[in-house]
């Protein structure tokens, strides 16, 4: 198994606030890794640093994909990070609400396609073939995610659980080497969470590496191969689900000092 993401001593400060301090994190291909921690621990900040929304104060983010070895991602713009091979979803749903479901996935193909304004103006052969391919690939992704029946619906007309799945579909359309999911199960009912769990597992079996932020501990424990625990911006534990479950530092971080009484 080869390393896909290698984060070394990542730190992020906002003025005097240390949002992240010396965080190390590795993900190998085909692995599901979870990042957990109490609210405000810095999980989403970590995602934002890795995907280029924030520029980390110090540290390194290295991405290995089949195409490229050890590219430094810190300092790149979000769209460049996506082109390099990382895609993410958000805690709150950020679909393009007034586009159709299929279009939402097609827009994810944007960075993997090339035709530009002149191609569109003259309808060149290249443009037409590329468009056709985009539609076919997007549709295939929708089938995988189980949304193909609503391909022409507006994204805003989908149910909550379906919208979350569409976000994953859109991220998959960018052909990521690593998929980052920020609380994918937030606000889902038990049935939807189960469907999501099956979906994530299926993606993993197809070889997709996944980094997951999640509060639903059942989901995390069921899915992850390894877990990283953040508290106040520092890593307090890493290990298998079994190890984390019984780690006293983690329990203290979640439940407070008096928990062992």
């Amino acid at each position: 198994m080869s390393l896909i993401l290698d984060v070394k001593k990542l730190s992020m400060r906002f003025g005097g606030i240390h949002a992240l301090t010396d965080v190390d994190l590795q993900i190998s291909s085909g692995e599901i890794v979870a990042l957990i921690g109490p609210n405000g621990a810095g999980k989403t900040t970590f995602f934002n640093c890795v995907t280029g929304i924030y520029k980390p104060t110090s540290g390194d983010v290295l991405l290995n994909t089949p195409k490229t070895k050890n590219i430094r991602l810190n300092g790149l713009k979000p769209n460049q990070v996506t082109i390099k091979g990382m895609a993410r979803t958000f805690q709150n749903i950020r679909l393009f609400q007034s586009m159709s479901v299929l279009e939402n996935v097609m827009i994810g193909r944007h960075c993997r396609t090339k035709s530009f304004i002149f191609g569109a103006a003259f309808r060149t052969k290249f443009t037409r073939e590329e468009e056709q391919q985009t539609i076919e690939k997007s549709y295939a992704i929708l089938q995988k995610i189980g949304l193909e029946v609503s391909a022409n619906e507006l994204a805003s007309n989908l149910s909550y659980g379906e919208q979350r799945r569409l976000e994953i579909a859109r991220a998959l359309a960018t052909e990521p080497a690593l998929l980052l999911l920020d609380e994918p199960a937030a606000g889902m009912n038990p049935q939807e969470t189960q469907d999501l769990e099956a979906l994530i597992l299926r993606l993993q079996q197809e070889g997709q590496a996944i980094l997951l932020i999640e509060h639903d501990m059942k989901l995390v424990m069921n899915l992850s191969h390894r877990i990283y625990v953040l508290d106040y911006g520092t890593l307090i534990a890493t290990g298998t689900p079994q190890e984390i479950r019984n780690n006293p530092t983690v329990i203290k971080a979640y439940l407070g000092e008096g928990a062992d009484a």
């Binding site: 393009f96 586009m99 827009i107």
Partner: protein
Amino acid sequence: MEYFIELFFSGLTRGSIYALIALGYTMVYGIIGLINFAHGEIYMIGAFTAYVIATVLGIYGFPVLAIIVLAGLAAAIWSSAYGYTIEKVAYKPIRHAPRLSPLISAIGMSIFLQNYVLLAQTSDFLAFPELIPDFEFMEPIAHIVGTTDMVIIVSTIVIMLLLTLFIKKSRTGKAMRATAQDRTMAKLIGINVDQVISVTFIIGSALAALGGLLIASHIGQINFYIGFIAGIKAFTAAVLGGIGSIPGAVLGGFILGLTESFATGYVSSDYEDVFAFSLLVLILIFKPSGLLGKAEVQKV
């Protein structure tokens, strides 16, 4: 009745031009939430470029159709270059500044370009060559609607259909819509947002330049100040239709043009602006987001 139809077509002609310019306002607003007050000047520069090219080609005795096409192309390209540069120089550096700063920058750019053309060209009115000949088959109805009017209306409608198709179907058009809806998410999905913004300015500018060419050959004269008035009117049209909405800009342009035309014809040309802006006030009172605009929801 004939008089009514005559006014109707003259209104459509005006409306077409307003709509062409309004599209630039509304597209830029949709993407970066900025009122590009220098847009009227782009239109004026388009008209001047067309004037220079058409005059020169006219001296060399080119056929009329070639002159129209070449002047149109030159105006579109030259204006696009201006639009692109304005965005890079005046808006991009302050994209994350408070909303008021780019607005002031835009007004500054507008004043600068007016005076630049005033100094570089002239403050006098220039006679614009008559580019569009009178077609013979139009003769029976020429007293109601002139050839130029017809050409302007038809070409505007064609341009708008092409633009709609482009935005709905093409890859770049989808990227534009995505950027307009959620810029951060668009970046995360791998869209080069800076490029999308540049393309928006280029398309908007090219449309304005074509508007400049068409109206200049209709009215027959240009000067450095035409961009200001046309810009204000087109901005009004964009707001009327709901700024940020492309069909809205077109609708707003036609409504404004027709209102002015009827006001001129039935009341007095002194009152055309009174009617146009009263209409704007009324619509803003009863539907503040414009006819086809959506009420803006603050994103959290």
